[in-house]
């Protein structure tokens, strides 16, 4: 498959602050590519530059052969954007919103009406299309927000954290919609800070942190970077000092790395069973009661921890 998106040394400065520091990557047609990173990593700024909203400080990108800096109007015709925050007119109905945005993408007449009906069916809101958006639940609004991005059947769809702040049911519906769209041939650039979403959806993942793309590849390629390591997750009490336990566990034989987050300590090791006894002993020595232990196979969380020394949710 040919690349539909080619990003080269994209940089964005806000005064002295460097939001994006020379990001480069490609996306092939028909791919779902996820940009995974914590809040403030530069995901939204990157998407904003690629969608022509912000002008890059330097660097460029081409989408379907059009430069985002030199041919922004041509780029806008082939992309769809689902912004992180809802961008709808709440005093209009779902149908009125879709009709208006369809008109902004050049649709009109019967083709507009037909397309609006299709999208309403796709997002499951045909029955409630005549209700004003402000009367919808958060999940329903999210679905309309996505529907707007699909109206003109874009070749490349940017979805910026579309599941933030919604209930599990709506989240599931959105993830299924993304998969459906991809099966219909749409290329998707999806940003998230939820590792599970990136793992479920993506053909390839780019891990971004502090404005830098620190790793890119398929999930297998990325987890290979942390070797065959497993992650032992210790759940400790609210009043226990997880930081000191993590520090102590660093000296246990077989432990590659140990990091503390809220009431958990993540321990990366080649074989969890080999270090388990030593870990429990260290906890007992410090009077820390381990409430439960999870053993996790290598995943993107471990990759992020391995690459940055921090958990993804930090």
């Amino acid at each position: 498959m040919a690349d539909i998106l080619e990003v080269k040394d994209l940089v964005k400065h806000y005064g002295d602050f460097q939001a994006v520091k020379g990001v480069s990557f490609n996306i092939a047609e028909g791919e779902i590519f996820s940009l995974l990173g914590p809040n403030g990593a530069g995901k939204t700024t990157t998407i904003s530059m690629l969608s022509t909203l912000y002008t890059p400080t330097s660097g460029d990108a081409t989408i379907d052969g059009h430069s985002v800096t030199k041919e922004p109007m041509a780029v806008r015709g082939v992309i769809g954007v689902v912004p992180q925050d809802l961008a709808l007119y709440e005093d209009l109905t779902a149908r009125e919103n879709l009709v208006f945005w369809g008109q902004m993408y050049g649709l009109s007449g019967k083709s507009l009406t037909a397309r609006v009906d299709e999208v309403l069916a796709q997002i499951g809101l045909t029955d409630k299309a005549g209700n004003r958006v402000k009367t919808y639940s958060g999940g329903m609004k999210r679905r309309v927000n996505i529907g707007v991005g699909l109206l003109h059947k874009p070749k490349l769809l940017f979805m910026d954290e579309p599941t933030v702040g919604i209930d599990p049911q709506s989240r599931r519906a959105i993830l299924d919609t993304v998969k459906d769209l991809n099966q219909q041939g749409m290329t998707v650039l999806y940003t998230t800070h939820y590792m599970e979403e990136a793992e479920e959806l993506s053909d390839r993942v780019g891990i971004i942190d502090h404005g830098e793309l620190i790793a890119i590849g398929t999930q297998k390629e990325l987890t290979r970077q942390v070797g065959e390591s497993e992650t032992l997750v210790l759940h400790v009490g609210e009043n226990d000092d997880s930081e000191s336990l993590a520090s102590a566990l660093g000296g246990v034989a077989g432990v590659i790395k140990a990091e503390a987050t809220d009431h958990e300590v993540s321990v990366i090791c080649p074989e969890a069973e080999d270090v388990l006894a030593g870990v429990v002993t260290k906890a007992n020595e410090r009077g820390i009661k381990i409430r439960s232990i999870d053993i996790r196979e290598p995943n993107l969380e471990a990759v992020f921890l391995h690459l940055t020394g921090r958990a993804l949710r930090d």
Partner: protein, 422 residues
């Protein structure tokens, strides 16, 4: 162009679905018009004029014919419905009646008033100088500004006619004297004759509160207070509408719809043009709804329909320019709202929505020219009194120039604004 139109239509639809906005755009001006109409007696049931039976006290201390002519004017049949004059003899008593709110105004015609305008030979001093001028006093009741304003207008018009006649006579006789066509003795005789005619003239003329409308064959058009109040209120709340529209630009930026528009294949100029068009359309719709409603409910005659339409378009154009300027200089929607509310009230007061501009000091009248309210109200009053399109050239041109200048400044300021950043 189509997208600009569609964005504008969308904004009109949103504005008319916003209940709070509707209260300010339509309900508030309507209720205030109703309230002020009740205060001025417009709805007291006399059918024609909004003002009727205005109580006025006249104290005539003049022993000449001009003073008596002014009294006759107020007692004439033409003004019988409008004013209810009472004759008095003591200025202090008359002023006290006003202070006690028993009448709208007192007119005190001083002794020697006629002779100060048309001196007799015996009035000249030994040095040949004319006797000192004396002035009529109109003691107005501040609690009845509109009624008092009507009384003052009648007196002003009467005096201006007297003054016109006197000056015209003086100039004619002087020119004939200088050119040698008449002798000094003839000039004195002619002056005396003109004085006699002038003294008998004013009361027979058309009255101050009426203007002759060429469109209605010279028939007198009655003054309707509502023809001043209703456009005054509509124009004041038009300023709310344009600031509301301007606020929507910044609101769209913060709620994400503006960035979303900016990543669609729609240019910045189309978007900004659409927003401006939306404000303009909303303002026009608001004005037309108020005009139609007041015509149907209050039986208010706004005047020449084409003139009203063109004046509405020009007024909304200028007001939209102010709305854009407020938005272009503000950073947040709250700033636009606060500035817009302040401007609405200031322009309302300056532009004559509360008190007639004619009753304001000259400097205020000068400053009022920066407001669309003043120019448009001038036009609406002219139309309400029977004026035609020709009479609207000046206010419409002023409004168009104002709007154009404000738009030009706003476009420059918007060019420096980052509309993409929330």
């Amino acid at each position: 162009m189509l997208k600009t139109f569609l964005i504008g239509l969308k904004d009109v639809r949103l504005a008319f679905r916003d209940r709070a906005a509707l209260i300010f755009m339509l309900a508030a001006p309507f209720v205030l018009t109703l309230g002020l109409g009740l205060v001025t007696g417009r709805f007291s049931g006399n059918g024609g004029s909004g003002l009727s039976d205005i109580p006025v006290v006249i104290v005539n201390l003049d022993d000449g014919q001009i003073g008596q002519s002014l009294v006759d004017t107020f007692q004439s049949a033409d003004l019988a419905d409008l004013v209810e004059p009472t004759l008095g003899s003591d200025p202090e008593v008359a002023r006290r009646l006003i202070d006690e709110d028993q009448a709208a105004a007192a007119i005190i015609i001083p002794a020697g008033f006629t002779r100060s305008i048309i001196p007799q030979q015996t009035d000249y001093t030994a040095t040949g100088s004319a006797p000192e001028a004396v002035q009529i006093e109109v003691y107005a009741n501040p609690q009845r500004p509109t009624s008092a304003g009507v009384i003052k207008a009648i007196v002003d018009e009467f005096l201006s006619r007297v003054e016109e006649g006197r000056l015209g006579g003086e100039v004619s006789i002087l020119q004939m004297l200088v050119s040698g066509r008449i002798t000094v003795q003839q000039a004195e005789a002619a002056g005396a004759a003109m004085g006699q005619r002038l003294q008998g003239q004013p009361a027979s003329d058309a009255l101050a509160i009426q203007i002759n409308s060429s469109a209605q064959g010279g028939a007198a058009v009655p003054f309707d207070a509502l023809a001043y109040i209703a456009p005054g209120m509509a124009l004041m709340f038009l300023m709310y509408t344009v600031s509301y529209g301007g606020r929507s630009i910044l609101a769209e930026r913060s709620q994400g719809t503006l960035p979303r528009l900016l990543v669609s294949p729609t240019s910045s100029m189309q978007i900004l043009g659409g927003k401006v068009f939306g404000i303009f359309l909303t303002g026009v719709a608001q004005m037309l709804i108020l005009i139609v409603a007041s015509s149907l409910i209050f039986q208010l005659k706004w005047g020449d329909a084409l003139g009203v339409l063109l004046l509405v378009l020009a007024a909304v154009f200028a007001a939209t320019g102010w709305g854009m300027l407020i938005t272009a200089t503000a950073r947040t929607t709250a700033q636009v709202a606060n500035t817009g509310s302040a401007i609405m009230l200031i322009f309302g007061a300056l532009g004559g929505s509360f008190i007639s501009l004619e009753q304001m000091p000259l400097p205020v009248q000068m400053v009022s020219k920066i407001t669309p309210n003043a120019w448009a109200l001038d036009g609406f009053t002219t139309l309400g009194l029977g004026g035609t399109l020709i009479d609207l050239v000046q206010p419409i041109m002023a409004l168009l120039v104002m709007g154009t200048v404000l738009f030009a400044v706003s476009v420059v300021l918007f060019g420096k604004k980052d509309l993409a950043q929330k």
